[in-house]
């Protein structure tokens, strides 16, 4: 076989490349390149017309220079000229240059398209393929517009060469993915499906990719491909290892085509036709059988190709999830791989088994491999394999093996890589709760988590343990004893101090009888940690102290001494100072009765009567508010967005942990004087105390926040779906959103108030306010009829992952709505992290005996948590550049749906939530905005640019944010507004 020699054909190019390689320094290289560029420029500008060979050589040199990383700003015209050469080598270099350096805005696009057109019509298969490859490589919309109609013709034409068909199929695939609207469906589609029968395996290989893509968008139109794919697959699978000649790879017949066919079948449910299904099942069995046969070659290529088919077969079996026999066989096969000497196979077996664990048919079979998987977690060298093992343990966990799995994961956590610790922590926390039979085990597990990986235990996790302990009498004594012991450790994690502080404050009395944990011992133990803790934890501890005064009067003097100390009363931190002053005064002024009332034990969480609390808080005035601002004040959390600086939150951010205290427990209604007494007292204290300034009553802006219910104890519920007592109906219980739901939602993207829905029976109005990561929404349900609605129940549902992203607290509304009446529902919303889908609002009631139900999308979109950010042009551009990863940007070009009025646009952008920055964009017609999305877990800096083109009635919208899905989502939301 003739080999290709070094740079044959173009000596000048080879010399130039050698020169570059011999350069001793970057400077020398640049010098050599500049010399060459000057030379090429002069040749191109010279009077003498260049021949095709020279042109090809120079264009190729330019390409080489570009690939080295240097800018090329000329030569495009010469490259385009090469396209119309009738010599293959010249044409090829021309097309290569265009494919690598093309700029779709180039004025040359018309010339390029012209050359492509000629080549497509040339009937020369080599030229046709070059042209098709160029379209497939560039894939621009302009090319789509020019050629989308021609390519299907070429693909199905009877006289097209096989290689042309291959290229045409994939070229069409590329155009279809880039601009599906441009590819006309038509009679060619049926003929494309029949390419599955083509004699040429290469044509089939290319066509399957195209068909798979088309199937995903129009499954019904391409259903006929199922039986064709099955018979093709069957022929391959049952062929002997040498039957397919050219397409046999290391004794495996057509491995890539088999994989593609198996993936195509995964676009559909199992075949309905019994004969087709039978044939397919036979294929799948054959693949499983072959896996047991001795290998035909010792080469890894043989086993890899064979196993590529095997894993894809297993994917299809799992996709169908209907053949118990096959599922169990798949599981056994993977079980063998778990101990294979090839790391690749162990990794893939763990990964694949993870999906098998979720099938009811194979769950038990997967569980039999527990010891091997645990061993993998302990011994695998590659962290990604260990991670798959952890995933699989999580997936196979149920009540029967939970204790074993949780303890192994805890053990693994001690040595786990930092990268996966947080995930393991969450998994352990979830499993421990989900499968807890006795809650002392659960408490032990969570405390172990904190002990082993305190830094990775998020608030959700430790909030949750508090909530469970509060709600379960049987575990409270044990929890108090255990945290007390845990706190004995000389160095314990701050999260342990938080949990310990809270639990002892609530239930320390349960262990106070033991002299080893008497009240003074408990107090001094906690207080020994105090000075090492952050402000938030110290604030929590101060609240524990005041609870101690109530629980254990004997500690009163000591604790008052602590509160009175200058370090507390004149603490630079407003929150700590305020608490010290409040608690000190409370402890000295209030009677024991009042104290006992105010500091009563926390009631179980779900039963809390929030309206009374709200009343109490209004009396209290400042200091009330959300527990969830806390994360934002932590300076480290400001770095998350990697770009936009957060604006400082309000000065008097309310107390972080106030909600975790008994302070908010409702006083029994039987003692109203005491209640109001306590409330007034507190207000008085504030107005006199040194901390009075920030607390002098809420500013109008804050009033909104200060009314918010404390969402803290509720929000951890989102972590787990299973035992949630606040019975949200699962998504399966409610109908799909009404067809107009998206349209209705879009109306509220840039505004907060209005009518969300209206029909003959019901009108739903919305008023909402958002601030930072919190929001409050009022829904007004108006009965438009004269008949009473019964069993009226509006509920908010979080589909999918939304539970962990958004916490929505609703209040019940009256079950009857009289004719002509309106009822109001208040929703407190907290954005925990970025989310893409809005929650659903399901409204059900009976009207004249007939059940009515309606599902809408609640107008809560991620942009509601936007905080506008002003910045100077320079800062803007710097940040813009920082966010230059491809995933960070989302762009949309779209036609204007409304008249293009600059003022309206401005109003919409402001309504969207971003700040509008003037004098940033050099073009005054353009709009530039910036803001930060505030969520509890993180902040996402967002920059946006909207470029109207009045002539074309088009907009171009570009979003850059530090999180990929957010960019895309914001871009989609906003693009629909103009």
């Amino acid at each position: 076989m003739p080999a290709v020699s070094k740079g044959d054909g173009m000596r000048g190019l080879a010399v130039f490349i050698s020169d570059i390689r011999n350069c001793k320094s970057k400077e020398a290289e640049i010098k050599r390149i500049n010399k060459e560029l000057a030379n090429i420029r002069s040749k191109f500008k010279g009077d003498k017309a260049l021949d095709g060979y020279s042109k090809k050589k120079y264009v190729c040199k330019l390409l080489f220079i570009f690939l080295l990383g240097h800018d090329i700003d000329f030569g495009h015209m010469e490259a385009v000229n090469l396209l119309s050469s009738n010599k293959y080598t010249e044409k090829q270099i021309g097309y290569l240059f265009i494919s690598v350096l093309v700029n779709s805005n180039s004025e040359l696009i018309r010339l390029i398209n012209n050359a492509i057109k000629n080549d497509l019509a040339s009937r020369n298969p080599t030229f046709m393929c070059l042209a098709l490859h160029c379209i497939a490589n560039v894939g621009s919309r302009e090319m789509g517009e020019a050629f989308a109609a021609d390519i299907p013709r070429i693909l199905v034409a009877g006289d097209s060469m096989d290689s042309v068909k291959q290229s045409a199929a994939l070229c069409l695939l590329r155009l279809y993915k880039a601009s599906p609207d441009l590819v006309p469906m038509g009679e060619w589609t049926a003929r494309v499906v029949h390419l599955l029968n083509d004699q040429h395996m290469g044509v089939v290989t290319a066509a399957v990719s195209l068909i798979t893509c088309l199937c995903k968008k129009n499954p019904d139109d391409f259903k006929t491909c199922i039986s064709l794919a099955v018979s093709r697959l069957s022929r391959i699978v049952s062929s002997a290892s040498t039957d397919l000649q050219d397409y046999t790879y290391y004794f495996v017949p057509a491995p890539w085509l088999s994989v593609k066919l198996l993936r195509l079948l995964q676009c559909y449910p199992p075949p309905e036709d019994a004969a087709v299904k039978g044939r397919l099942v036979e294929c799948l069995e054959t693949v499983l059988n072959k896996a047991q046969e001795p290998p035909k070659s010792k080469k890894v290529q043989h086993s890899n190709a064979k196993n590529a088919i095997l894993f894809e077969t297993i994917s299809l079996i799992i996709h169908y999830d209907s053949e118990p026999n096959l599922l169990v066989r798949a599981c056994n096969q993977l079980g063998q791989f778990l101990q294979h000497r090839e790391t690749n196979l162990r990794y893939l077996a763990l990964e694949s088994m993870c999906t098998l664990a979720s099938s009811e048919f194979s769950h038990e079979a997967v569980k039999t491999h527990i010891d091997t998987v645990i061993n993998a977690l302990k011994t695998e060298r590659d962290v990604s394999v260990r991670q798959r093992a952890a995933d699989l343990l999580y997936a196979m966990c149920d009540r029967s093996n939970a204790k074993q799995i949780v303890s192994e994961m805890l053990r693994y956590l001690e040595t786990a890589d930092y990268a996966i610790r947080e995930e393991i922590v969450l998994k352990v926390a979830i499993l421990a709760e989900k499968y807890a039979v006795d809650y002392s085990w659960y408490v032990d597990t969570i405390l172990n988590l904190i002990r082993i990986a305190g830094d990775y235990v998020s608030e959700e996790v430790w909030y949750r343990v508090l909530q469970i302990v509060t709600n379960r009498d049987d575990v409270q004594g044990y929890a108090a004893k255990t945290v007390f012991e845990a706190l004995q450790a000389p160095a314990c994690h701050e999260n342990m101090v938080k949990v310990g502080g809270y639990i002892l404050g609530e239930f320390g009395n349960l262990i106070a009888g033991d002299p080893r944990s008497s009240p003074p011992v408990q107090f001094s133990l906690l207080h020994s940690k105090f000075h090492l803790c952050s402000v938030a934890t110290r604030a929590l501890l101060l609240s524990t102290y005041i609870k101690f005064i109530n629980l254990f009067p004997e500690t009163k003097a000591t604790i008052q001494g602590v509160l009175r100390a200058g370090s507390q009363l004149r603490n630079a931190d407003v929150e700590l100072q305020q608490r010290a002053v409040e608690y000190l005064t409370l402890s000295s002024v209030a009677s024991t009765d009042v104290l006992a009332t105010v500091l009563e034990e926390m009631p179980p969480f779900p039963e809390r009567e929030s309206s009374i609390l709200a009343k109490l808080k209004r009396k209290k005035g400042p200091g009330a508010g959300s527990a969830l601002d806390d994360g934002r004040r932590d300076p480290s959390s400001n770095d998350v967005n990697g770009g936009v600086e957060p604006t400082p939150s309000t000065v008097s951010t309310p107390s972080p942990s106030a909600d975790l205290l008994g302070l908010r427990a409702a006083p029994p209604p039987a003692a109203p004087p005491a209640t109001s007494g306590a409330g007034n007292l507190l207000v008085d204290v504030f107005s006199d105390g040194p901390a009075a300034q920030p607390g002098l009553g809420p500013t109008p802006e804050e009033a909104f926040l200060s009314e918010l219910e404390p969402p803290a104890p509720e929000s951890p519920m989102a972590l787990l779906a299973d035992p949630a007592p606040a019975a949200d109906p699962g998504p399966e219980d409610i109908g799909p959103p009404i067809p107009e739901a998206d349209e209705l939602l879009n109306k509220f993207v840039c505004k907060n108030n209005g009518v969300l829905f209206e029909n003959q029976l019901l009108q739903i109005g919305v008023k909402s306010e958002f601030r930072q990561n919190l929001g409050r929404m009022y829904l007004f349900y108006g009965n438009k009829t004269s008949v009473q609605f019964q069993n009226f129940s509006p509920t908010v549902v979080h589909p999918g992952d939304l539970q962990t992203q958004l916490a929505v607290q609703t209040k019940r509304v009256a079950a009857q709505v009289d004719g002509g009446a309106q009822v109001q529902q208040v929703l407190n919303i907290e954005c925990l992290r970025d989310f893409l889908t809005p929650p659903l609002l399901s409204v059900r009631f009976r009207y004249g005996g007939a059940p009515q139900s309606l599902t809408l999308k609640l107008p809560v979109t991620i942009n509601k948590f936007f905080q506008p950010t002003e910045m100077a042009a320079q800062d803007f551009f710097q940040r813009w550049k920082q966010l230059s990863l491809p995933q960070q940007e989302a762009q949309k070009i779209f036609k204007a749906n409304h008249p293009m009025d600059a003022e309206v646009t401005k109003a919409k952008l402001l309504g969207f939530g971003s700040a509008l920055l003037d004098n940033v964009d050099p073009n005054p017609e353009n709009f530039v905005g910036a803001g930060i999305i505030q969520t509890k877990a993180l902040q996402v800096g967002c920059l946006l640019r909207l470029e109207p083109n009045a002539q074309a009635q088009m907009y171009r919208l570009t979003l850059r944010t530090s999180k990929e899905p957010v960019s895309r989502h914001l871009c989609e939301l906003l693009a629909q507004q103009f």
Partner: protein, 155 residues
């Protein structure tokens, strides 16, 4: 323009890019099937290099990379890397790399790194014969080599 759309994850068997790098991080081939600007390409090249070169022979040939995964194999001093969707078939791509390398080896007659440097424009032709639009186009070595030799004979 408008190509952002084809970048959505989960669109099936699809290659995002193919990279051939040497141990020092010099790129010997970069074939992109997704739209990136030049700075982004450079960043990706550096990241891939950093991710892949720290792994040893006992590691898998797969590594998670951003929202995708890299399937790679090392041949002497060269790393051949293919970036695909996380749910794509690892072994199929691993062998697609090997199939490609065998074709290069045959075509360049015991291929070495320098062949790829001096004949970079031919390597693109080989790639286009075997992979197109992010999909596997042709897998038969015989067919690919026959076509390449036919092209080689053309002026």
């Amino acid at each position: 323009m408008g190509q952002g759309k084809c970048c959505k994850a989960g669109e099936g068997l699809e290659i995002r890019f193919i990279l051939i790098q040497n141990r020092a991080g010099k790129t010997r081939l970069a074939k992109w099937y997704m739209q990136f600007d030049d700075d982004e390409k450079q960043k990706l090249i550096e990241e891939v290099h950093a991710v892949v070169t720290v792994r040893d022979a006992k590691h898998t040939n797969f590594v998670e990379f951003r929202n995708f995964k890299i399937i790679y194999r090392r041949y002497a001093g060269l790393y051949f890397c293919i970036c695909v969707d996380v749910n794509d078939n690892n072994l199929a791509y691993l062998e697609a790399i090997h199939n490609f390398v065998e074709v290069l080896n045959e075509y360049f007659h015991n291929v070495c790194e320098l062949d790829l440097v001096f004949n970079f424009y031919k390597v693109y032709t080989v790639v286009d014969e075997m992979f197109l639009a992010g999909e596997i186009r042709e897998t038969s070595q015989t067919k690919v080599l026959k076509q390449l030799l036919m092209l080689q004979s053309l002026e």
